[in-house]
Subunit: 421 residues, 2 copies
Amino acid sequence: MDSKPNAIVAQSGGPTAVINSSACGVIEEAMSCGKIGKVFGATNGILGVLKEELFDISAEKPETIEGLKQTPAAAIGSCRYKLKSLEDSRGDYERILDVFKAHDIHYFFYAGGNDSMDTADKVNKLAAESGQSLVCMGVPKTVDNDLACTDHCPGYGSVAKYVATCAMEAGRDTEALYTHDTCTILEVMGRNAGWIAAATGLAHRSPEDAPHLIYVPEAAFSFDKLVSDVKEVLKELGMVFIVAGEGLKDESGNYVTTATGAFSKDSFGHIQLGGVGDMLKAVIEKEVGIKARFNKLGTNQRSAMHCASLTDVNEAYMCGRAAVKAAVAGENGKMVTLVREEGPEYKCRTGLAELSDVANGEKKVPKEYINDRGNGVTEAMLDYVRPLVMGEAPVRMGADGLPVFMRFERRALQKKLAAYM
Amino acid sequence: MDSKPNAIVAQSGGPTAVINSSACGVIEEAMSCGKIGKVFGATNGILGVLKEELFDISAEKPETIEGLKQTPAAAIGSCRYKLKSLEDSRGDYERILDVFKAHDIHYFFYAGGNDSMDTADKVNKLAAESGQSLVCMGVPKTVDNDLACTDHCPGYGSVAKYVATCAMEAGRDTEALYTHDTCTILEVMGRNAGWIAAATGLAHRSPEDAPHLIYVPEAAFSFDKLVSDVKEVLKELGMVFIVAGEGLKDESGNYVTTATGAFSKDSFGHIQLGGVGDMLKAVIEKEVGIKARFNKLGTNQRSAMHCASLTDVNEAYMCGRAAVKAAVAGENGKMVTLVREEGPEYKCRTGLAELSDVANGEKKVPKEYINDRGNGVTEAMLDYVRPLVMGEAPVRMGADGLPVFMRFERRALQKKLAAYM
């Protein structure tokens, strides 16, 4: 009989190319540290705990676990379930602790964004209150790169590499058909923070290289400004390539896609159509009088394993291991952070931050990373993001010329955890 | 003084990941065959000839020319200029022959689709009529894969590899957040032919793998069918991943994005918004009552050099060389074709077809490649496309972790050839 306590690893929020690398780090360290018994996966994050949908990851084949590093999205399953306050959702929190007790879970490793850190924090506090032995550690994850207390987030380097590559490539497409004024818009993710859009500045190595204009939610956006920016670039280059974060806001902080109402309703009257790409295209075609087109990478940008950053994969893995190392060394209630060391060469180590500090914080693109005109990024931004996209993550290719991703044998696809949604 | 006649190489239509590989093949063969003097690039296709915007590609550095194989889109510049009949555009055709004469051009290599083959054919016929020595050869190019007389088109294998990879990856994203019925739509190119959408069938290796539904323009589409298909997949899997070609048509052959008019006008009343992805999302949200999202890869799919098929790159290059070899061997008025040899192993060689046969033909996805229900593809389709995506094209990476693409030193970006548009 194994007397060592067990651990749960779970994933939450929007998937990334490397959240599974973090899981791999947690699992491998937990299985080799000698202080943890079994490692369970909680299917679909905290929902899997609530529903007691656990599976024994430590019984999976080693190559399956190793394959996590080359598999995008969340192999354990993710969720968007936000627990309310301890007062309002006490039943949920107690249920979580009961499930932990039933499976002798003393360690809970939760990879996610600030909502997940909030959940982990509250579970941890309730456990302490009720005298239940529990260590809750957070592993940072978000393509949006908006977590407080960490230099950057695992997931961001890969999406940055992919969207910058996409801007380069679609930029060449725009340039190729450059026989008259022409416009391409690349819509990227980032509802509140413009880190993803800003990263495409890496592609702009020379004046003709895309993107020529970059709009982020942190800089107040107006359609008048857009039209005048576009006209100016067209005068100079005869073409314009625009990157727009999906959450552009006007001076009052309202999303421009909903502010005017122009495109917010379809003919049924209640479904919001399209987004920023759509809207910019329509405005440019009408006000500038040129043909515009838009690409919307959508969930492909956060799952682009085939173009992931090796730096990002390695750091994500390092964060997973660090969470376990810290936990078994006696830390509790912390999220692993990435700390960029001083010096000319990029070096990154892990640190720790209080879960509650991460839960309540948010990191936006700072003013000094955005140019004065609010339509591009500065060298400081490029210096920040450049090291994060370095290196190409290996991808195992199948005999059919396409990537091979893993699935856990023991995780059944759980249809409808909707009782909790 | 060099008494050997000169050649022009030009590119036309929508760019691809490998049209530059074809150009590389033309240039390298032309420069080494001993029968051709200089090789000029015509900036932006036939427009460059009309405007006499030529540049001496044979004077470019060899590494620039070699770099064409790793550069997406059209490095010489492309155009969408369609010459009318000889009667209606005689001035244009005569101008072309005059420019050819002025620069001692005896060989014209044109990479493009059927409109470009039509142009090359007409130029050739007028030259013959007027006794001007000219050899016009076509090099096939189109991501749409809809050219007649050839087994497949350079450009298609790469877009197929990319969209199948994207379906795999975004499919994992859909699966990760699989806590309630959920839907992702991937909109891909293909206004009249569904080859690109059909290729994503490669990603569906197991029942849960995306895509679960594939709609192509060749199969009559209806929203009733969509809703019932979606409900059926949801019942089975609890999630649904749909790939839709942008040119879906109803039973009468009308585009569904314009047929109903529901989404065809914005609030200005005259600009068509969005496309199939938008529309399917709205219908599914309303009629099925689940959240749906769509990704629209747009021009990123045809320029995705970072995920190009090595088979495609090599065949594109082979087509370029074959065009020159055939031309100097005495062929004229032909397009190079790809001929798939019989036998269990994939082997492909080049052949030749009359330009006029290609110009007037079109190849759609045949019935036997589409399943009976019109919502997926058959094994025959997969057998057809599988060899075309094999191998990964090398991409030179820069010190900044992003691809390095080439530009010709001698080609100035030509702002506004709009006089001819």
